[in-house]
């Protein structure tokens, strides 16, 4: 991996791209320290450490810690991702959008534009919600002195957050275009990784004071590395369904078998089921939060709290459920069969149309089971590792790890493909032996 990056840096254009990416990410990081006007950061951080604060954990994760600093990027790129997911579902449901999605490049562009608008609208909505229900709650619990909840404050927060997310989206797109890798993913990636560093440092400090066992820490690291490796393997695992194109056979050979296939990922749904499950589980906690004195509601909330066994169990169940749902959205056998047919392709031995759909459905449903179990395991991972090693000072999540692995793999693949185009040697490459001999 490092080697690929190193050789990438040798090529001016790639070096420029990498530098550009780092520059934008640095700008993003810088923005993380520009607070939203009128918000008292200390109080927020204090609150987030309490149990109720957990509600916002997922937002915090995706915003790369921006939330706890309540910076101009407090919402992170999450609203955009939510919009993208919603859009993806809508495309399969709304005929007009479905038609648009089939219009090729042009249609995709329009859908992208909708998604962007949707993301910013969601951002505005969330900003407003945060300003009224969270920051401004209880007479301005998180406000700096001199600020009071009211239209002006709401306005300031919404404008800041909308501007923040629009800027972030723009930066992400710049990365995608002029940098390396997918901008949106990289911004999340950077946010997650950046948050790990201080935690690891803190833990090392704890080792010195003896609060954490060194051996346990090493075990912890080993587990993480193992988890990374496992996830990388699963992320890349795919079933390849060969596809044949009805075409002229020219010359002697019939080609195409090896490179023409539909890859179906073992984990086709990605991290989204985990995000959904976590988000849903937080609803009861969230709703119960204002009623601290009601034991029944608190009991229900606790039941769904994923830090407890009952909540964890439900979470895993939800993850598995959502994996099925989302795979169905993501991987629509009907659409695939259609587009196969459109270009004259078919799966050898299977008729186009309905039989192809059936065949694909069968394979996907078998794969999804394993994908779902894998995601369930990922959900449990932090609990398992923390309990095994007894280290609780590093807060990490399964999604975080999975995202980091996924983004790293994608980016690497892109670097690889960029490198390849530049490394054509041709048949006159100087022999390897010559270097040695002469």
């Amino acid at each position: 991996m490092l080697k690929a990056f190193w050789s990438a840096l040798q090529i001016p254009e790639l070096r420029q791209r990498v530098l550009f990416t780092l520059l934008v990410l640095a700008a993003y990081r810088l923005g993380a320290f520009i607070p939203t006007p009128g918000v008292d950061l200390d109080k927020i951080q204090e609150f987030l450490r309490t149990a109720q604060g957990g509600v916002f954990g997922i937002i915090n994760l995706f915003s790369g810690g921006n939330f706890e600093r309540f910076s101009i990027f407090a919402l992170g790129i999450m609203p955009y991702i939510t919009a993208a997911i919603i859009m993806q579902i809508l495309v399969t449901v709304v005929p007009a959008l479905e038609k648009l999605s089939k219009e090729g490049e042009e249609g995709r562009r329009i859908i992208n534009q909708y998604t962007r608008i949707g993301g910013i609208a969601l951002g505005a909505f969330q900003g407003f919600f945060l300003a009224t229900a969270f920051l401004g709650a209880e007479g301005g619990r998180f406000l700096l002195p001199g600020w009071s909840p009211g239209p002006f404050f709401w306005f300031v927060v919404v404008v800041t957050q909308v501007a923040g997310i629009a800027l972030l989206l723009w930066m992400a797109e710049r990365i995608t275009e002029y940098g390396i890798g997918n901008g949106t993913s990289l911004i999340i990636f950077a946010g997650i990784v950046v948050e790990w560093l201080p935690q690891i440092l803190r833990t090392i400090g704890l080792i010195r004071t003896g609060e954490v066992n060194l051996v346990a820490f090493l075990f912890f690291l080993a587990f993480i590395v193992l988890a990374f490796a496992g996830m990388a393997a699963v992320q890349q695992a795919e079933r390849r369904i060969p596809v044949q194109y009805a075409r002229k056979v020219v010359g002697r050979r019939v080609y195409g078998g090896q490179a023409t296939y539909i890859p179906i990922k073992l984990n086709a749904a990605g991290v989204i089921p985990i995000i959904f499950a976590a988000a849903i589980l937080q609803i009861p906690i969230f709703l119960a939060a204002p009623f601290q004195d009601n034991p029944v509601l608190q009991g229900i909330a606790n039941f769904f709290n994923p830090t407890r066994p009952s909540g964890l169990f439900i979470e895993v169940l939800l993850v598995i459920l959502f994996t099925y749902v989302y795979t169905a959205v993501q991987f629509d056998p009907k659409r695939i069969a259609e587009s196969l047919r459109e270009y004259g392709g078919f799966i050898p031995g299977i008729r186009p149309g309905e039989p192809t759909v059936k065949f694909l459905e069968h394979i996907v449903s078998r794969l999804t089971l394993w994908g779902a179990l894998f995601l369930g395991l990922v959900t449990l991972l932090p609990q398992i590792i923390q309990n095994l090693t007894g280290i609780h000072s590093i807060a990490f999540s399964g999604i975080g790890l999975l995202i980091v692995v996924g983004v790293a793999l994608d980016t690497l693949r892109q670097v690889e493909s960029q490198l390849m185009l530049r490394s054509y040697e041709g048949f006159l490459s100087r022999g390897r032996l010559r270097g040695r001999n002469r």
């Binding site: 090729g104 019939v254 149309g353 040697e425 048949f427 010559r434």
Partner: protein, 997 residues
């Protein structure tokens, strides 16, 4: 939007101002000085020396331009206008100059050519057809010769020797396709003397005429050289029959029907067809097979689908014509025939089967390049056209070329009327006929643009047969009757009686009733419509003489175009009457004079003859007379030319008074540019003129790309074709449809280019190395061959001599077998001794032994012969491998989008897989070369040194297929026949086969 436009406009304005200051003024200042120069060629040579001494072209620009202008003045009787100087500077800067028709692009090019020819590296002026290449070269020849520059022309029929000479000239006029094919052929050459492009700077500077046509319209059709593959099968006929028996159904549509109906469905937008389950079953039954889509029937399925596409999507006289038992493609953009070009992937064969003509054999791609990537190979390129601004973004984004709109010498005063829209095509055509009739009656010349041969002939038919217009009259009559139902009175009774026999109606019959009709309202509208119909019918009855110009009738093209501007002329044309047609009002006296002289046995293209004609037409009889004497033109001819001149002048006045040439477009094209091309035929050089487009919602553009909602609304509102639809929504809808198609096509081109870039990089590597073998010194060739031997032996050995495996466990038997397969000379090598060595050393020992064997072989054959063999083997192996590679990439590209389902970026995957294929090919080349060099037996008949190999002329051969994005232009060439005789090649092949067994 408006603000943006204004800003763009201002930018252009500023640019133009800059050119005035930096180019026009300095050149004009030099004019007086240059006028006095006795010898322009000497002055030009001086500039050349200055350039050699380090003066940049930019510094020399004013003087070079001034000299060129003077040369044109002296030898051509034309002086570059100031705006033309600007055009020249734009071209020199590697940008695109947008210049309106008739502004003299040909003359503009001379400026940039003369300036850039100072480098001595050759300049190519690229035209769209042979005729223009020859015309421009001969026409502008005197300008260049005046400066001491040589001019070359390449025509389709030029021999290699002629081509070579033409490319060595300072300026070469050549068509884009000849140029591209020459480049590809050069890269298939087996000996240096086959090369036709310059060896040192093959592609230096190109000025591309009609640049939008070449870089945008043709971007989707790559140049392909192909060689014959196996004979075509008669199965195509059978498939055509089956296709006929299958029925078209409707596709599934979200929210309308879940399952498609019929035997197959058609997707017009991307020109694809899909078999339904029912259709598959039916086809299987008809074919008597099971499993149409099982691998063994793959080809049948493909042929059937092509047969259905041929049936549903490719129409005779629109997409192709049948002539002398051949299916010939009609170019979508120019309306011209493309003999020799074939649809790919068996589609052409399917069409041949459908038309019941002989099926040509299949071919295989040997070399290919897109125009985009070809012109990018130039050190500098520039372009000119009348229509580039609408595609400015694309030029900038893809080619990095700015567009500068060069102001016209005189303002354009053509009046472009808003579109007239009808609900149905029928209504539209009636309206077009009415407009033609009206203009014809007035005497105003009309040029009617149609989008296909079929439509042009249909319109011609309508003009010829008045009865075809009758339904329109009857409809008008109905409308009028309805509107006048309630009218009572004796006058009305008389009118009704009269109207009972509509076919006999005349204008005069209706005139007395004029007073009956109220001046406004429904009744008046219906009445006017009726009157118009009656009148049109009358005009049609008298006959409207007209000319049809399409790919089927193009023999008299030049003549028709020359006369299209005369009064009372109606010309119906396809897109053919687009680029390069200059329609003069009142007729073209130069053309007529030239035709006259040609009949008298003069060469109309000789520059002195042309100059004579120009002077005659311009009225400079003194000068003309001198030339006439020199040329031996009789006084009587002078008199006739004078008559022609006067006649044209009179007619021109008449036409001017009538408003100049009027353009009628009968359909909007997919691209606004093509529409603008048509419009641009009128209003040249400040002439009066007008244009109007007729559109209907039946047109392909509207049917496929207009919003369904607008169409549904129109139907609800019940438009009945009697009147054009006028609604802002409709106008917007047309615009949007056109914009949509343009965007879509741009996206397709961009994607095509993206993919092609990968191939392009690979091609650059292979071609560069191939060239090194071809042109390199003997030592370089030897080094290359030895390198390949070394690498092949080393990598074979490394497969067996694994350093991590104990030497005792090495599979030396396998190693020996493998190595001997490549180099039998290693038979006596002591393989057993390898066990005593480290893996690395063992490999080295083997390589040394192989090299020694190689040296022995060289000694045996003699070094010169060995070099010849090396060259021959490497070039052949590379060419074969490259051919296979092209095919592999094609297959790869077709299926790569499937990767998207695994959340992978297909383009990225393509790059990775294409690289893998490339590396495999390279490895294959190396090992094949090594094998051949060791095993090749050179027998009694000595190998002729490769350098003396005869050039293989490119025959007028049948071109070929493979269609990914539309048509590909192809031309076939036989497999190269290098130094070895055919018998020898066969022997080689036999040996190879034996060896494989």
């Amino acid at each position: 939007m408006l603000g943006l436009l204004r800003r763009l406009f201002d930018n252009n304005e500023r640019e133009i101002a800059r050119y005035y200051k930096q180019v026009v003024e300095p050149v004009n200042r030099l004019e007086a000085e240059v006028e006095k120069l006795p010898d322009l060629a000497a002055a030009y040579r001086e500039l050349k020396e200055k350039h050699e001494k380090g003066a940049s072209l930019d510094e020399l620009l004013p003087m070079a331009f001034a000299l060129t202008r003077e040369s044109a003045k002296r030898y051509l009787g034309m002086r570059h206008f100031d705006v033309q100087l600007i055009g020249g500077a734009v071209l020199h800067e590697g940008k695109i100059a947008e210049m309106k028709t008739g502004e003299g692009k040909t003359l503009v090019a001379t400026l940039a050519v003369a300036l850039n020819a100072l480098t001595g590296k050759g300049v190519h002026v690229v035209t769209v057809n042979d005729y223009l290449a020859r015309r421009d070269a001969e026409w502008m020849g005197p300008v260049y010769r005046g400066l001491g520059l040589s001019v070359g022309v390449i025509q389709h029929a030029s021999t290699p020797a002629e081509r070579r000479k033409a490319y060595l000239a300072d300026v070469t006029y050549v068509t884009n396709s000849e140029l591209g094919f020459d480049y590809l052929r050069d890269n298939m050459a087996i000996s240096p003397d086959q090369l036709v492009l310059r060896h040192d700077h093959p592609l230096h500077y190109a000025i591309i005429d009609e640049v939008d046509s070449i870089l945008i319209d043709e971007a989707r059709t790559p140049l392909i050289i192909s060689g014959p593959a196996e004979k075509a099968t008669d199965l195509y006929y059978k498939m055509a029959e089956i296709a006929k028996k299958l029925e078209r159904g409707l596709p599934a549509e979200p929210g309308v029907r879940k399952e498609p109906t019929g035997d197959y469905t058609v997707e017009e937008k991307n020109r694809s067809v899909h078999l339904t389950l029912q259709g598959i079953a039916k086809a299987e039954k008809l074919l008597g097979i099971e499993g149409l889509f099982s691998p063994e029937n793959m080809e049948l399925a493909h042929m059937l689908i092509q047969a259905i596409r041929a049936k549903e999507l490719y129409h005779r006289d629109r997409d192709y014509i049948v002539q002398d038992g051949q299916v010939i493609i009609v170019d979508e953009f120019t309306g011209r025939l493309m003999p020799g070009r074939r649809y790919g992937e068996g589609l052409h064969q399917a069409i041949e089967a459908k038309e019941g003509v002989r099926i040509e054999r299949e071919n295989q791609t040997l070399a290919t390049i897109t125009y985009q990537n070809f012109f990018r190979l130039y050190e500098k390129r520039a372009g000119m056209t009348g229509t580039a601004k609408t595609e400015e973004k694309e030029f900038q984004e893809i080619y990095g070329m700015d567009v500068v709109v060069v102001p016209t010498n005189r303002p354009v005063i053509r009046k472009d009327f808003p579109d007239v829209v009808y609900r149905t095509e029928k209504g539209k055509f009636y309206a077009v006929v009415e407009e033609i009739a009206e203009k014809y009656e007035r005497g105003q010349p009309v040029l009617v643009g149609t989008i296909s041969i079929e439509k042009s002939e249909r319109l011609s038919q309508m003009l010829k047969e008045p009865r075809l217009y009758l339904p329109r009259l009857e409809m008008r009559l109905e409308l009028f009757k309805k509107a006048s139902q309630k009218q009572q009175g004796p006058e009305w009774e008389r009118l009704r009686k009269l109207l009972e026999r509509p076919a006999q109606l005349k204008d005069e019959d209706l005139a007395p009733f004029e007073g009956l009709i109220p001046p406004k309202g429904n009744l008046r509208t219906a009445w006017e419509g009726l009157k118009r119909a009656v009148h049109t019918l009358a005009v049609l009855r008298q006959g409207i003489p007209h000319q049809v110009l399409n790919a089927k009738h193009h023999a008299r093209e030049a003549e028709i175009v020359a006369q299209a501007g005369r009064s009372k002329t109606v010309t119906i044309a396809t897109n053919m009457a687009g680029r390069g047609t200059d329609i003069k009002l009142g007729g073209n006296p130069e053309y007529l004079a030239a035709a006259l002289l040609e009949k008298e046995g003069f060469d109309r293209y000789e520059w002195k003859v042309e100059l004579f004609i120009k002077k005659m037409v311009a009225g400079k009889e003194e000068e003309a007379r001198a030339l006439a004497q020199e040329l031996g033109i009789r006084e009587e001819l002078l008199e006739r030319i004078r008559e022609i001149r006067e006649e044209c002048k009179q007619d021109e006045e008449r036409v001017r008074a009538l408003g100049g040439l009027f353009i009628i477009g009968t359909e909007r094209h997919e691209s606004r540019r093509i529409d603008n091309q048509l419009r641009g035929r009128a209003g040249r050089q400040g002439d009066p003129g007008g244009s109007r487009f007729y559109v209907s919602f039946d047109d392909d553009l509207m049917r496929l790309f207009a919003s369904d909602r607008v169409i549904a609304m129109l139907d609800r509102m019940g438009f009945d074709d009697s009147e054009p639809i006028e609604h802002p929504m409709v106008t917007r809808s047309i615009e949007r449809a056109q914009k949509r198609v343009e965007d879509r096509n741009f996206a397709i081109r961009k994607q095509l280019l993206q993919f092609d870039d990968v191939l392009s990089r690979q091609r650059e590597v292979i071609y560069a190395q191939r060239r090194l073998i071809l042109l390199g010194k003997d030592e370089e060739v030897k080094e290359a061959a030895i390198g390949m031997v070394e690498e092949t032996v080393a990598s074979l050995a490394e497969n067996f001599l694994n350093p991590e495996v104990h030497p005792e466990d090495w599979d030396l038997e396998g190693l020996k077998a493998t190595l001997l397969d490549t180099a039998p000379q290693l038979q006596d090598f002591p393989f057993a001794e390898l066990r005593a060595l480290k893996a690395e050393e063992a490999v080295e020992r083997l390589v040394e032994a192989a090299l020694k064997a190689y040296e022995a072989r060289e000694a045996e054959l003699s070094p010169p012969l060995m070099r010849a063999v090396e060259r021959f083997v490497i070039l052949n192996v590379v060419d074969n491998a490259w051919k296979e590679h092209l095919h592999n990439l094609d297959v790869l590209r077709q299926g790569i989008f499937l990767r998207g389902y695994g959340q992978k970026d297909p383009f990225q995957e393509y790059k990775i897989e294409a690289t893998r294929l490339f590396n495999e090919m390279v490895a294959f080349i190396k090992s094949e070369v090594a094998k051949f060099l060791f095993r090749l037996k050179v027998e009694a008949e000595p190998v002729r040194p490769v350098r003396e190999a005869p050039y293989v002329p490119v025959p007028e051969a049948k071109p070929e297929p493979s269609e990914v994005f539309g048509v590909e232009r192809k031309r076939a060439t036989p497999p190269p026949q290098p130094g070895l005789s055919r018998a020898e090649r066969r022997r080689l092949m036999r040996q190879e086969k034996k060896r494989k067994k």
